[in-house]
């Protein structure tokens, strides 16, 4: 379900209406069902996978902390995931309606996977029970290590199979073929479940934090399931931490009028970014990057600049809507973007762009690797590894790895410069700051070219065009929509004013007089109405 669709508007109105009339516990149950409907709208079958992933980490969390499960804590999630698998995977929903009206025999609604579920489900539960019995008497330190390893193996294993198997298999086959070894390519015909990278990382942070004794696990399976499937941020973040979200979900949440209005403002801002700007520039960007023919210097440069606008407006717009929607439900999600195109250095950029992922990678990958505690070379190695994996997180393709390598490199170069001169001794001042922002902007833009390119060949071709084809100013027939051009001006002005306000606070606009805020909101809404004619595109980060 897309945030910028009428389906979501209807869904949100129903959820909000129910939320306002239900008592606290029932609110949580309703939000859990809402999260599953929201996710299942895309594909019901993968809900079972998410529930399985939820169950594993719920059990691991309790075993890490208390070392045991109550009968209820063991049986309820097991039954839940088994029933979910039976209903969501074992039945062919597309055939159910036909069977109900008698068009096909009733047994046709049973999918071929039903047998596997009936056999595999109890087998898996028995295997889990034996593992439980084995780890139960173990020394706490070993038990905790085994438990966290189980969580890591299962969660990353799911990610590896669904997201990376075909990529690595095909890459291996190509490598072997390039040295003359012919092997038949193995290929799973699998669909990438939407948002799998987001909820897997979110769930993993829970078990790792418990392992590090930074948080205590929740006893309530349904609260944990809601943490994993909280719909506003389920499929494209922000990747929330258990220590922030679970406490909010585990206690009553008063609905505050002002918080609600701020939530509505964020929703309007997010829709404005997505509908008026991102969807308005997408056709131009696509015509250049999806083209198989010759493109000009102006095409490549303009498309890359507009892609930078598109991906920011698209992803930060999603985050704004997610945060705004959560606020309507009394939940505060973390800020995911802080004006990233005002970054003056690579480090600054990653403190402003997709903050929930960069802090996740920092906390769970960079720091465990050693962070900046060792030599300069050691730090650079850690930066590079983190960014390579961060690039790969975005998608199973080599251009994402290249993008990660690119950012790893510029982070390392920056680190070396800082170590030589010291952060404070690098050039300062207002004009210098502007020069830094502009020059780092070019660096970021080239990174987006690597990110958006469809192949290495396109990377090299577009790089050649940028440097060798200067002066070719013809552009393709599709131009950005009017809503996007006006929207970029409005958003640019808003962000510059926010940046100049000093602290870059996301709520700085609240200091404006009411007519000014009213005019800003009205202008955004007017541009949303204009942008609604643009062809709606899926959020870019859904594919990750």
């Amino acid at each position: 379900m897309l945030f910028n669709s009428f389906e979501f508007l209807t869904f949100l109105l129903v959820v909000y209406g129910l939320y306002r009339v239900l008592p606290f516990r029932a609110q949580n149950r309703m939000l859990l069902v809402a999260g599953y409907i929201f996710y299942g709208w895309w594909d019901w079958r993968f809900l079972a996978l998410m529930i399985f992933s939820t169950t594993v980490d719920f059990w691991v969390g309790l075993l890490l902390d208390r070392g045991k499960l109550t009968r209820w804590q063991a049986l309820f999630p097991a039954t839940f995931v088994f029933v979910a698998a039976l209903l969501l995977v074992g039945l062919d929903f597309s055939a159910v309606m036909h069977a109900l009206v008698g068009q096909i025999p009733t047994h046709s609604v049973i999918s071929p996977q039903m047998t596997w579920i009936l056999i595999g489900g109890p087998a898996l539960f028995l295997a889990g029970f034996f593992i439980y019995k084995i780890v139960l008497p173990m020394d706490e330190r070993i038990r905790r290590k085994i438990c966290v390893l189980i969580s890591l193996t299962i969660q990353l294993g799911i990610l590896a199979v669904y997201k990376y198997f075909n990529f690595f298999a095909e890459s291996l086959v190509e490598s072997l073929q390039s040295v003359g070894i012919n092997v038949s390519p193995g290929h799973f015909n699998i669909v990438l479940p939407v948002g799998i990278s987001f909820y897997t990382f979110q769930s993993l942070s829970y078990t790792i934090d418990i392992y590090r004794r930074e948080i205590r696990p929740t006893d309530k399976f349904l609260d944990f399931a809601l943490f994993v499937s909280f719909f506003p941020q389920l499929v494209a973040g922000p990747i929330e931490r258990a220590r922030n979200l679970i406490p909010q979900l585990s206690r009553p949440r008063p609905i505050d009028f002002l918080v609600t209005t701020r939530g509505l403002f964020l929703i309007v801002l997010g829709l404005f970014k997505k509908v008026a700007i991102a969807d308005g520039v997408a056709p131009f960007v696509d015509q250049v990057y999806n083209s198989s023919g010759n493109v000009s210097w102006a095409d490549v440069v303009l498309a890359t600049v507009l892609f930078a606008v598109q991906i920011y407006a698209d992803f930060s717009g999603y985050s704004d809507i997610a945060r705004g929607t959560a606020r309507l439900l009394g939940v505060e999600l973390m800020v995911n973007f802080r004006q990233p195109y005002f970054a003056k250095s690579p480090r600054d950029f990653w403190q402003r762009w997709h903050i929930s992922l960069s802090t996740w990678l920092g906390d769970y990958l960079y720091k465990p690797l050693g962070g900046s505690r060792g030599s300069l070379a050691f730090t650079c190695r850690n930066l590079m590894l983190t960014m390579l994996l961060g690039g790969l997180w975005h998608g199973a393709a080599w251009n994402y790895v290249l993008w990660g390598f690119y950012h790893g490199s510029i982070l390392s170069i920056h680190r070396v410069l800082v170590s030589v001169r010291g952060e404070a001794n690098l050039l300062q001042g207002r004009i210098i700051s502007t020069v830094k922002i502009v020059s780092f902007g070019f660096v970021t833009l080239y990174g987006w070219l690597l990110f958006r390119a469809r192949s290495f060949h396109q990377v090299s071709e577009f790089t050649r065009i940028i440097f060798a084809d200067l002066g070719n100013f013809t552009i393709g027939p599709r131009v950005p929509a009017l809503s996007a051009l006006l929207g970029i001006l409005l958003l640019g002005g808003f962000e510059i004013a926010q940046y100049n306000a000093g602290n870059g606070s996301p709520r700085y606009y609240q200091r404006w007089p009411a007519p000014a805020i009213g005019l800003f909101i009205a202008a955004m809404m007017f541009l949303i109405f204009m942008g609604m004619s643009n062809e709606p595109a899926q959020f870019i980060y859904f594919q990750f």
């Binding site: 009028f257 393709g476 202008a523 109405f529 004619s533 709606p536």
Partner: protein, 386 residues
């Protein structure tokens, strides 16, 4: 149960008051913008004024079809908007180009792409003289209806029928008045449907000439009958888009109506041809194949060579061709598939108004002449221009 305002302390009251003020100011500003845009970019009242400006056009796109037709239509042909005079079956507007010495005549039926191809063949070939019968944005059902009504077709050697990706789903309409939200045009088209036996059935439109349209449009009773006919036969008919209301005066309502129309168009196109799949069971594709079959049979019966001009628009790959290819091959109908010569994923092959560049039209024209010369059922393999 959560209480909405219980947590608001007395110190929050100024902020709460401000929030309401912001709400009212937002509404006032939105109304102001609505009126301001309407005043700043008015659409000219004179139907003969053809260049109202891009912004005036943009903000007017969402006006109801009846609202736009009301503004464009006058009883007198010299006073009405030129676009209201285009595309009528009665009389059929045929463009005859100069006849070449010892040359032969071919006739092309379709939309502006087809007419541009006709111009290019006329310029490129020293053998063929080209007649064209076209209407702005014409769908293939209109083109086939035009072919059937064209009494001059028989004097030629070949007849060419155009079919295009973007307007394929509109093959089940009775005219652009229900679907072309960019330009309000009152001309009508035959509505074809495929019977269970695969035969093509035709439903005639409620009027076929400008004069009949004006008579119907100026009489509420007659127009109600016309609406009913469209509602019954035209798969794109939607009262929200067609019927004139007082809300036409609001820019915001027009933008919303335009968005609704665009969304419907995107979804319909996607359902038939996009997203890596073709819905062969859709009515649009079944009708398209039936029309092509019938057109070829009709032409052959009269000793004419039938050729299908398949136009693949930018961003569509060659799905349009795939949708009709089995009919073309099975019935050995010669075709000119644009995707074989003009890559549909290269934006530089197209002009900003979505037509092919003149160079590509010339290339296609030469190929069409070759197909007619040889009577090849299928075009030779070619490399698309990049």
């Amino acid at each position: 149960m959560s209480l909405p305002s219980s947590s608001t302390s007395s110190s929050d009251l100024p902020s709460r008051r401000k929030a309401w003020k912001v709400f009212y100011w937002s509404l006032i500003c939105l109304i102001f913008l609505d009126v301001l845009v309407g005043v700043a970019f008015p659409y000219p009242k004179n139907p003969r004024e053809l260049n109202p400006g891009k912004l005036a056009l943009f903000f007017d796109y969402g006006r109801s079809m009846e609202g736009r037709l009301k503004r464009a239509t006058r009883v007198n042909r010299n006073e009405t908007a030129p676009i209201t005079l285009s595309g009528w079956y009665d009389p059929l507007e045929v463009v005859e180009r100069p006849v070449k010495a010892n040359g032969e005549v071919i006739t092309v039926y379709g939309m502006s792409h087809a007419v541009l191809l006709a111009d290019a063949v006329q310029a490129e070939s020293n053998k063929y003289s080209v007649r064209s019968v076209g209407a702005p944005g014409a769908t293939t059902n209109w083109a086939y209806g035009a072919f059937r009504r064209d009494v001059g077709r028989k004097k030629g050697k070949a007849v060419v029928l155009a079919i295009m990706s973007t307007t394929l789903p509109m093959i089940t309409t009775m005219g652009p008045v229900t679907w072309n939200t960019s330009f309000a045009m009152p001309y009508t088209a035959d509505r074809y449907s495929v019977g269970p036996d695969g035969a093509l059935h035709v439903t005639k439109p409620p009027f076929e000439s400008f004069e009949a349209y004006v008579r119907a449009f100026s009489s509420p009773e007659k127009w109600a009958t016309v609406r009913a006919a469209f509602a019954k036969n035209d798969t794109f008919y939607d009262a929200f888009l067609v019927e004139d209301t007082v809300l036409d005066n609001s820019t915001v309502v027009r933008l919303l109506r335009r968005a609704y129309a665009q969304k419907r168009e995107h979804e319909t196109r996607k359902a038939v041809l996009r997203d890596g799949r073709i819905d062969f069971e859709s009515e649009a594709i079944r009708v398209a194949n039936a029309i092509i079959r019938q057109f070829a049979a009709d032409a052959r019966r009269e000793g004419l060579l039938p050729v299908i001009y398949v136009i693949n628009n930018l961003g569509y790959q060659d799905q349009m061709f795939q949708a009709v290819s089995s009919t073309l091959y099975k019935n050995r109908i010669p075709f000119l598939n644009s995707a074989q010569f003009v890559a549909p994923d290269n934006p530089h092959n197209y002009l900003p108004d979505s037509h092919f560049t003149p160079e590509n039209d010339k290339r296609l024209a030469r190929e069409l002449a070759r197909i007619i010369d040889t009577g090849d059922p299928a075009a030779q393999s070619a490399t698309p221009s990049n």
